[in-house]
Amino acid sequence: MNITIEHLLFSYPNTDRALFQDFSLYVQGPGVCALLGPSGCGKTTLLRLIAGFLKPQAGTLSVEGPLSYVFQESRLFPWLSIIDNVSLPLFQRVSKTEAREKALFMLEQVGLADKAFDKPAQLSGGQQQRVSLVRAFLCPASVMLMDEPFQALDVPLRIQLMDLFLRLLQDKPRLVLAVTHDPREAIYLADRTIILQGQPLNPVWDKKILLSRDERCYSSPAHAELEAQMFAVLTAVSA
Amino acid sequence: GLTAQTTPITVYTLKGPSGVGMVKLFEAPPQATGYTIMIEALAQADLMAAKFLSGEAQVGILPANMAAKLASSGKDISVAAVIGQGMLKLISADPTVRSITDLKGTSIEVAGQGATPDYVFRRILHNYKLDPEKDVQLGYALAYPEIAQSLIAGKIKLALLPEPFATMALAGNKDLKVVGDIQAEWVKAGGRENYPMTVLVVSRDLAQKHTAALKAIYEAVENSIVWVTGHPAEAGALVEKYNLGIKAPVATVAIPKSSYVFIPAPQARPSLEALFSAFLEYAPQSIGGKLPSDNFYLDVKPIHE
């Protein structure tokens, strides 16, 4: 349940500068590691490298166990109903009926039980985001990659879903690597937070978050303090 | 300055066996003062019919029934002469079939449903009290070359073939035999001598206004046919040279076995009418439903001495 990256070199074809140069990272599971960084610095690329969708030009990369992935766009199959979209990862493992039952249960949890038999095009942006979250939750993976999983959701719903997510993680520990733009989300969820800088990618801030659940609340002073720190780093990185 | 105005006229002939008799015209086009006469070969009889219908063709060759059909449709054309007679052979790979009477219960490949050989053969069968719907089965699936190929390869047993395909088939497989004499059977069945297949057709407009040109063409065609029948080898070479669709050796062998003739319309009228009556019996609409009128037969006196 670990991710080990060593001396990674990567650049997209036909681009002049390397996005990753001698990049190393070691993340140990179980737990949630949040990744923050300016837009375009290479966060999504990092996740895609880990998932094996991109091949590094040099360096080693090792991940164990089956993966699940919440993509930055929702990536639903337009011709499948919501319930089929969600139960897709299970089709290989359990019977269709069982997969659908599990899917329906999870859809209920995120308030979408009544949309189970609709097509993705009939859902709002936030609802599609929730569906793609549920799809990744359902896959019994030991490593979970998430690219801005709670975007497009209003704040109360976001907190509610994060609570659900934490509960699920307690039941079945996993290693979660979550890209986010919102320091508050990172504080609420993560055991470790990394702030990345681009060109080439390198971590400028890498901290364990050792707050209690209560201290992680948006309104707690500890939260506010940490947020201010992170904000300062992010601003520095951005400039 | 002044240039001599000449009227262009194209003589249309057909590729394949029908056009062989006129091959000399390619070598030496007819000459007539005031006219430029050219010759061109078309691929198929119905394309020739289209040329006549559109008025592009003033003189050309056609199967006799098509000429009658065009005339009956109101086209002002006449037959000047019969230039080719049918040379059909019934070919058999089945040793038990030795005469027409043995055909009962067999199936025979006859190319060209609705064309002259079909009706000629039907009339002969009828003469032997054989009903083409019941007693024999006539197959129309293949064209002449494919029938010949199948005969040689032994895939079919019986077929009615014209020259030069009959010769080709017989040369390709020693087991093939000719059954009976279709031309004689035709006469027995009520026909007059050998039945006419191909006729030289001219538009009446040409006949009336361009007598000199017509005379030149008429004589050139006659001379060509006489020459071709007399010189199969030379003619065969010309046939290949002008891309008429037959190789020189095949043409050389087939010419003597084919019946290239030149019978001016008045003399040919009885045999044409005998053929037409067979059509009237089986498919009246293919000659327009009635025998052609008198002026279908060109009065050749002004051009023929």
């Binding site: 998932a51 969708f53 089956p66 993966l67 699940s68 992935y69 993509f71 766009e73 990536r75 199959f77 011709w79 499948l80 897709l88 990862p89 089709f91 290989q92 097509k119 896959c139 | 119905d46 019919a49 289209a50 219908l53 559109s54 098509m66 059909k69 065009l70 449709s73 086209k75 060209g112 449903q113 609705g114 064309a115 197959g139 129309y140 699936a141 293949l142 064209a143 494919e146 190929q149 199948s150 895939k155 498919a283 609409q285 293919s286």
Partner: protein, 250 residues
């Protein structure tokens, strides 16, 4: 097809008839192009005859058989070819031979192997197969690579990939291919029937009419063919609509 569409369609037919009428006046020959009224009278007469109805039925049967053969075969060969470059490169000579070989060159062998009744089906297959496979291959190549990544991630089997990604992606292409194949099919079947002349066939009727220069009858048979093509196309469009509706695309 709703009422307003029907109205515009009738407009199209009317203009077509006017053009035909004009054409026949210009050509002024019933053998080249008979005028529409006479032809329609002949057509109506023809429709009553048993020969005609049998010919129509048998030709329709041939069309349907050729479809039921061509569709699965082109899926079975086109899909693996699209997914695997080795198969694609290997099959290319076969595709070329099937698409480009003139029927004339193999008519005799086709006749020997398939007989009179089935040669038109074979010849329709030779035309539909390249249309369908090239559309199937384009359809599969149009599959969204982002969705392919999702399937990769969850280790779905090849069959599941087909079911969830490739078949839905190729459907619109397949439908476009079928649409053109279906209309062309009538033309091709009839052309082959003209050559081999099965006992009951639209093509046999046409060949007889043509041999006698009975253009009026020939065109009447042709109109019957076009009308049948229109009917089969309408059925196809109705099925397509139903299907799209069920798939939620409409």
């Amino acid at each position: 097809m709703n009422k307003r569409e029907f109205f515009w369609g009738i407009g199209g037919v009317f203009v077509l008839l006017v053009l035909w009428e004009l054409g026949s006046r210009v050509l002024a020959s019933d053998i080249l192009l008979p005028d529409p009224r006479k032809t329609l009278v002949t057509l109506v007469g023809l429709i009553g005859t048993q020969k005609f109805m049998k010919a129509l039925g048998m030709s329709l049967v041939r069309i349907l058989i050729s479809m039921t053969i061509a569709i699965p075969v082109s899926l079975l060969i086109g899909i693996p070819s699209a997914l695997n470059w080795r198969i694609r490169a290997f099959m290319r000579p076969f595709f070329l031979v099937i698409a480009a070989t003139p029927v004339l060159s193999i008519i005799l062998i086709a006749f020997i192997w398939f007989g009179q009744e089935r040669t038109p089906i074979f010849s329709a297959f030779l035309m539909m197969f390249p249309i369908l496979t090239s559309n199937i291959m384009a359809g599969i190549q149009s599959a969204d690579p982002k969705l392919r990544e999702v399937l990769d991630l969850y280790n779905l089997s090849e069959l599941q990939r087909l079911r969830y990604l490739y078949i839905p992606s190729l459907l619109p292409y397949m439908i476009a291919g079928l649409h053109s194949a279906l209309s062309l099919c009538w033309k091709v079947v009839v052309a082959a029937e003209v050559i081999v002349q099965p006992r009951f066939a639209l093509g046999t009727g046409m060949q007889m009419a043509k041999a006698q220069l009975e253009t009026i009858e020939l065109i009447a048979w042709t109109i019957a063919t076009v009308i049948m093509a229109g009917l089969t196309e309408s059925v196809f469009l109705a099925i397509k609509k139903l299907f799209m509706y069920r798939e939620g695309a409409l």
